[in-house]
């Protein structure tokens, strides 16, 4: 009962906050799912500029990045939000994995240290989000505990969630598996890299935030 009252109060406060300020839209997910690629795609589509650097080495984004006041339009509708790109959430970080990608031991250790701090920051920021896009690599197994923990936490905080099945341009992509893993959420399959199905993504974004 107390839990229900608490959730109701949170919802009322969130709705009030939404009407006053720009919505904080977070991009969450495991490393290398394509969060920054999607952030760049959104920023390119509506601002004509990139948001962050993309790399095939995991944990490229190690700090929270915010792009303020992005306005997107669909017909007569307009939506303004602050886009928050977060470091990928992981349960393990091994500097030796970065060495395998060609980094020196010193650089790899530095990267690992920054990456651990990035994960902590991403978790801390969960409470500040008004809506979240969970970006998953559709060529990977969706049943990883990190995915389940992120989505479970958002659900517990009553934060609206849209799941993006990214990299659908790849042969191994399996969007249906993601839909089966999270049947209670809307899942949209896109290729952030090539801009595939972005119109559908923006339509769902309007529904998520409004």
């Amino acid at each position: 009962m107390l839990d229900a009252i608490n959730k109701f109060i949170q919802k009322v406060l969130r709705d009030l906050f939404r009407k006053k300020k720009h919505v904080k839209l977070g991009l969450y997910g495991p490393p290398n799912g394509g969060k920054t690629t999607l952030a760049n795609r959104i920023c390119q589509d509506w601002l004509g500029e990139d948001m962050g650097i993309v790399s095939s080495i995991p944990h490229e984004t190690r700090e929270i990045k915010i792009k303020e006041q992005i306005s997107i339009k669909s017909g007569k509708k307009e939506l303004s939000f602050n886009l928050v790109d977060t470091p990928g959430i992981a349960t393990k970080i091994d500097y030796e994995d970065f060495v395998k990608h060609g980094l020196s031991v010193k650089k790899a250790k530095e990267r690992a240290k920054e990456a651990t701090k990035g994960v902590i920051d991403a978790i801390k920021w969960l409470d500040d989000m008004d809506a979240v896009i969970v970006v998953l690599d559709s060529t990977y197994d969706p049943y990883s505990q990190v995915n389940i923990t992120i989505i479970g936490n958002l659900q517990a905080r009553n934060i609206p969630v849209l799941i993006v099945a990214n990299k659908v341009d790849l042969k191994k992509a399996d969007m249906k598996k993601i839909e089966a893993a999270f049947p209670q959420y809307k899942v949209v399959g896109i290729s952030a890299k090539y801009g595939k199905n972005m119109d559908n993504f923006y339509d769902l974004l309007f529904k998520l935030v409004k």
Binding site: T91, K92, Y95, I120, S144, Q145, T149, G152, Q155, A181
Partner: protein, 128 residues
């Protein structure tokens, strides 16, 4: 040699969230694979990840974690009532949590009702 440690829910039931995390992470850092009866709360799972990140260093690379919990399918009113009563009585005691050091466990796969645990190969472990 792999050491599996079973932790009955009673062992963590009376503990605070902080104490639970400290206890479980302590076992994992002792190179044990923990099989916990039940599961942590959602916010405890994120707190466990946060604490793990704080403790990562050259020797401790993090954890592998997996929770098996039977999904509640929507059904008749009677079934929903039965599920709610079971949840109230058993709470977090339902399900199973497996966690262990990333230096021992390569991957835990869930599909979704079975768990497959893949260990790191011995040579790699020795190197560490």
């Amino acid at each position: 040699m792999l050491t599996l440690q079973f932790v009955p829910y009673e062992e963590i039931e009376g503990l605070t969230s902080n104490e639970r995390i400290r206890k479980l992470l302590g076992m994992v850092k002792d190179e044990r694979i923990v099989v916990l009866e039940g599961r942590l709360r959602k916010e405890e799972e994120t707190a466990l990840i946060k604490r793990t990140m704080e403790e990562i260093n050259d020797r401790f690379k993090g954890i592998e974690l997996s929770v098996v919990y039977p999904e509640r399918r929507k059904g008749t009113l009677g079934r929903m009532l039965k599920n709610n009563i079971t949840d109230m009585l058993l709470g977090q005691r339902q399900g199973l949590t497996v966690l262990g050091p990333a230096s021992l466990i390569k991957e835990i796969k869930k599909d979704p009702d079975k768990i497959q645990l893949f260990t790191q190969d011995k040579k790699k472990r020795r190197k560490r």
